[in-house]
Amino acid sequence: MTDTSHHAADRHSRIPATIDDLVLPVEREGSSRRTFLKLAGFGVASATLAGCSRGVTRLVVPRLDASDSVTPGLAYWTATTCGGCEARCGVLARCRDGRPVKLEGNPEHAISRGGLCAVGQASLLDLYDGTRRDGALVRGKKASWNDADAVVRAALANSRVRILTRTITSPSTRAGIERFTKQFGASHVEWDPRSASAILAAHDACFGARVLPRMHFDRAHVIASFDADFLGTWLSPVDFARDYAAGRRPDGDDATMSRHVHVESHLSLTGSAADERLAVAPSELRPTLALLRKHVADLAGAADAAGSEPTDAPYATRIEHLAQELWGARGKSLVVCGSDNAGTQALTVHINQLLGNYGKTLDLEQPSLVRRGDDKALLALIEEMRNGKVDVLIVDGLDLVYELPDDVGTTEALTKVGTVVSTSPLADETSAVAAVVAPTPHELESWNDAEAVRGHFSLSQPTVPPLRAARTLRHSLAAWMGDDTDDHDLVQAYWQTSVYPRTKAKGSFQSFFDRALHDGYVAVPSPERTRARWRADGPAKMLAASAAPAAVADGSLALVVYSKVGVPEGRNAHNPWLQEMPDPLTTLVWDNYACVAPATAARMGVRPGDVVRIADGDAAVEVPVRTLPGIHPDTIAVARGYGVSGTDRFSSIGPSWLEGELTVQEGGTVGRRVSPLLTLDKNSLRTSGRAVTVTPTGDHEDLAGTQDHHRLEVPAHLAVRGGAVRDVALVTTFEKLQKDPDHAVHAHEAHDVSLWPTDHANDGPRWGMAIDLAACNGCSGCVVACQAENNVPSVGKDEVLRHREMTWLRMDRYFSGTGDDLRVHHQPMMCHHCANAPCETVCPVLATAHSSDGLNQQVYNRCVGTRYCANNCPYKVRRFNWFDYPRADELNNLALNPDVTVRSRGVMEKCSMCVQRIQEGKAEAARRGEDVADGAIQMACQQSCPSGAIVFGDLHDPESAVAKLAHGPRSYQVLAELNVDPGVTYLADVRNASEFANGSGTGERHG
């Protein structure tokens, strides 16, 4: 294994044995001299000594033991696995002084390959969540683990035991559950709130194997996605985004670009990246696929395979064209579908089968294991519970009461269970009715393993001594079985018995395990082979078994319950970084809302922010409306994951002042719970297609967003000739780029004339970035990565409403075109580090000036806060500390990066181009007596980007990756005509579409 990161060599399992050995770098401020809080590198505590004229005496408290594990001030990386979702990406936890301060993607992990999404980045903050449970509860009261275990053991004896979990991706936990179920005759039900049950069922019917194929978007030349948000929220977005970007490399001699057609009801992140996007009503999805199957079957010469499924779909010609494109790329194409309808999924399976994609772009042999949940099994379990046939129910990782619709009667069903055991680390609605709560720890403070794709194993190891008394499910189950083995040993034992023997590696188990621990990832061929055999009658059977969703009647709208990129599920609702991450499509924060097409809103007579009641029978939800282009006009989309109880904790987030409003009222919730409108029919939990009536309630709520104007065009009545569109986000087509790369993008040129002599010639490096808009899909992982790296505070809804978000890196989103030609442009925007920076000239006190290596430096401690620099910034990327943002939670403060100053009130801040990383890189190079190698320093945003859209380096080095990109054919600079000479270059977006119906945003207006 080669080290791609120079930090790799430093990676160890260096976890102090006990909390006492850990020098918690908490600075106790004993005086009023609290201007800047920085978590100093090692144990420095300040205390006021009586009678000391110097005021503050700072102490240095070195460790007692001389082991060379943790050097104060020096970061080390620990390989582990992300616990943010079931995709289980590999991460390297950047640790300082015995605690993780930042999560970075592990480039050696074969599935995630170095990327990390917003949820993964933000999972760090959950570790330092002070509301996590500390120790076990018995009937709501704190109890010792022994007492709790005794209660559970007593209940387990001679009873019907059920374990309800999400998809278990940890093989050792799965083994533990199997052992447990055997011992107690229990059964294990897996269920996922974002279920892939329909896909699994369709494969079961068509292949005889209930598996989720692993999708290879990089191998597909034509991708047709039907309501599958694979770049944003679907299954394994980091993996998919990496693959997707790999298949779309529009530059160079070996240029290749997949063609992506997206069909959906709601506007998803993936839809916004597509080359062609078709909006259909939820009920039209199945006919559309049926039509596609018909055409593909015709092309395959298997017309009779098409069956009698209705094909009365819109976009008949486009679908026919798509069929031809797919057929032309058969074996190199991919049709994916996110529908919860098994019949629809069966059509997808059938089309892929007709195209010969199985075994090529779809892998059943080494399937994905990220979803195994079975809606039917859950329904059966609830039925059992209702009938009083369950004595002990162990619920792990699920807030059943929150997730399921109210008419299921989940709470009543739970009360009929003898003993409910919850493992929830936070107070949720399910654990509220649990007899015993045995909370689970955070991924970063525990041992764990994962197998998200068969044969690909990753390991989790603690990066910090447990901050809370908690046990993994595996550990608890073992304890209840009477096995007092340590959790680490449980994992290691599994690896010794089940993983190690499969390797061909020489050497002892210990060396294998240590290596795996060091790398965080190991590929072990699986002896298991999916026994999949195509059953020609599968699709028809499945279609017959699954009713097609009915079209909604006039006057109703079809409801789509979707997942947001930032807060995909209720379990993410407690994370302020995610709550405040602007949704890449609506740019809204801290809320869910009903997205409707502007025409639909006009028809209903509602304006954005007006609260509507979405009802079907007794089930109703009241949410504010948000208009969003691209949504099918008969659709109303509401995000799940909101209305989680306990989120009123955020009532205290952000500054409190005279006119400040709470983010959430005491006792309220962030957003609204939309579960009442989910449908639990006999096969599955349905999230889309329910016919609902929408009526305005007359209330109005302001929605907090980071963007007020959403189009590249200025408002029509203000559009002067030649100024209707802002050439900010440029797009070209792959065809044009192929034909004439040098003229495919027409950008403004800088006029390189200067009145000034260049008397500070810079012969050293000039750090800069290149951002590929063709690769960027707007997932906003970089936004959260930047927030985590740079100690950017979360400021709350009211402040965002006042346009005072603090994010250094924002994800601008523009629309251009209309209807089916709607284009969505995502553009990461941060400080451009202009060589002729307008901000620098105007600062009276030299608080912002240029460095010799081309950085626009912001010196917080010099800043007096005139805000002149921000006014004069053409990109509006400077952020002002309007208040002292609350930093009272000391546990939470452990997530702060000790290498970055926490800014006080009244000073300006902005993207520093991760200058702490540059300085570290330079200092390390100096220490080793080497030059800084290209790629050795990575920006936080760059590191997290699954698509590799951001490249950092020395613009003065013609051989550097960034310099090559910056001079490539697609490069352009935003507002180059101002001659500010920015250090950030964009590469124009490329869409693999032959023609744009609408010229906007194509950069074609300048000859």
């Binding site: 500054p655 002042w657 006119e659 805000r867 921000a870 006014n871 952020r879 000073v907 507002l975």
Partner: protein
């Protein structure tokens, strides 16, 4: 005005020296009138409100203002530029008109200069409190320090402001004070006890010696000659805060003259407002006559028209530049979301002053008073429009944002008026509001022209004294 001496005859009711002294100084020696106290209490209340708002803001953070990541300045710098502008008329009256030997200035120059100083004080508050960390404001001064020493950025217009405003305040205040010394001596010589001792301290031992008078006159002429380019430079420098920026709507070479003329315009409007009130309250009808008001009105209509021309020039420049950003900003200014503010600005500053072409309007004190207030409002909005609408919709549409003031900002604006009027009312009570010595010079000169001794002239003129100012005006015409 056919009468070549109309402007020469500065005051009505031919006064003797004794009368002038009495008229100017006796109000200072009486107790404050009820009206004065009412005004003072109102002003102090406003000031207190402002102080509370500022204290809260400094304690809590700039976040208590309605600013945001896009609009970093709004009320604060608007108020700053507004008050600096107000100040300009005072200097203009005292310096420029002195150089041009305009005698009519003598009745109002003292008050106008006081207005300048107080307005600059009000203005100076805003750059200070608009800082995120005002307790570090001394960092804008280049003094030796242990940081290297780290100096300041001489390229920043804000730093130029520091020097421009600092110099302007210093020179204006000292100029004013130098002119005040003879009158303070007069007051001293009319007073007894503690009051005399205090006045003796401040009058610096003035004894009316011819040598001193000679130097005093030279000094005044020199200071006037210095203050004239100074006053032009101050608002030019203030305008460079915007003109040197890259922001469309700010980035305009027109700004320095445009701001200076706007400042003169707003300053004269404020002078008019104050003089109309003061002549009524302090019974200075004979000193601040219809002729003075008429003259100021003419200045207003002149400068107002130039201001209008400047507005149109801005539009022309935007159109002619062919820069889509500049064109957009101008259009947005008029018909964008804050078009109403532009409407107020344009009607108050350009349309309304045109009424002053009519003598009937000029002769109606009530109308003139209302007009002067409207011009003040309009000029405040001019700065608001330039600052906040230009910032709100800049280059990148993603960053566009609007601005709404908070209660704290409104209270701070009220507080600045409170400070201004508190100081002005204190000035009315404790400092001779009319430059008595200069009036005496004018009287003496007039009588010298008429070859009549002042005593005799005074006696002869006495029967005419009760004549109303309006009849005088008519006769003059």
């Amino acid at each position: 005005m056919d009468d070549p001496h109309a402007f020469e005859r500065v005051i009505d009711g031919d006064k003797t020296l004794t009368q002038v002294t009495h008229d100017v100084f006796s109000p200072l020696e009486r107790r404050g009138t009820g009206r004065w106290w009412a005004g003072f209490l109102l002003a102090v209340s406003a000031l207190l409100l402002g102080l509370i708002a500022v204290a809260y803001q400094v304690q809590t953070g700039i976040g208590t203002w309605g600013l945001n990541r896009t609009v970093g300045w709004a009320f604060d710098i608007t108020n700053f530029v507004f008050w600096v502008g107000i100040g300009h008329a005072g200097t203009l009256i005292s310096a420029v008109l002195l150089l041009f030997r305009q005698k009519w200035r003598t009745s109002i120059n003292r008050a106008a200069e006081a207005m300048t100083i107080f307005a600059v004080m009000c203005a100076g508050v805003f750059p200070l409190i608009h800082m995120g960390r005002p307790w570090l404001a001394h960092w804008v001064f280049p003094y030796p320090n242990p940081r290297g020493p780290l100096w300041v950025n001489w390229r920043s217009p804000l730093l130029w402001d520091v020097f421009a405003i600092g110099t302007y305040f210093t020179i204006s205040a000292l100029f004013w004070y130098v002119g005040l010394i003879p009158d303070l001596a007069t007051a001293r010589d009319r007073a007894n006890g503690m009051r005399k001792r205090i006045l003796a301290f401040f009058s610096l031992g003035w004894d009316g010696s011819a040598r001193t008078w000679s130097r005093h006159e030279t000094a005044c002429i020199l200071l006037a000659a210095l203050a004239t380019p100074l006053v032009v430079s101050v608002h030019s420098v203030v305008s460079t805060d915007f003109a040197t920026a890259v922001i469309p709507g700010w980035h305009a070479t027109l700004f320095p003259p445009y701001f200076v003329i706007g400042a003169v315009f707003s300053g004269f409007a404020m002078v008019l407002t104050l003089m109309l009130v003061a002549r009524k309250v302090m019974h200075f009808e004979d000193y601040i006559t219809q002729r003075h008001i008429g003259a100021i009105c003419k200045v207003l209509v002149f400068t107002g028209t130039i201001v209008g021309l400047a507005y149109l020039t801005e539009f022309f420049t935007a159109w002619y530049s062919a820069s889509p950003y500049e064109r957009f900003v101008m259009l947005n200014r008029v018909i964008g979301p804050t078009g109403w503010a532009f409407g107020i600005m344009f009607s108050c500053n350009v349309v309304v002053p045109q009424l002053l072409w009519f003598r009937r309007v000029r002769n109606s004190l009530v109308t003139v008073f209302i007009l002067s207030l409207l011009v003040n409002v309009g000029m405040w909005f001019e700065r608001f429009v330039i600052i906040s609408t230009s910032l709100g919709r800049g280059f990148l549409p993603s960053a566009w944002a609007s601005y709404t003031p908070t209660l704290i900002e409104i209270a701070t604006l009220i507080g600045s008026f409170g400070l201004f009027f508190t100081l002005f009312l204190l000035f009315c009570r404790f400092v001779p509001m009319i430059a008595a010595a200069e009036i005496k010079t004018v009287i003496a000169r007039r009588h010298a022209n008429d070859d009549v001794a002042p005593e005799a002239a005074g006696a002869a003129a006495r029967p005419e004294a009760p004549e109303s100012s309006e009849t005088t005006e008519r006769r003059a015409a």
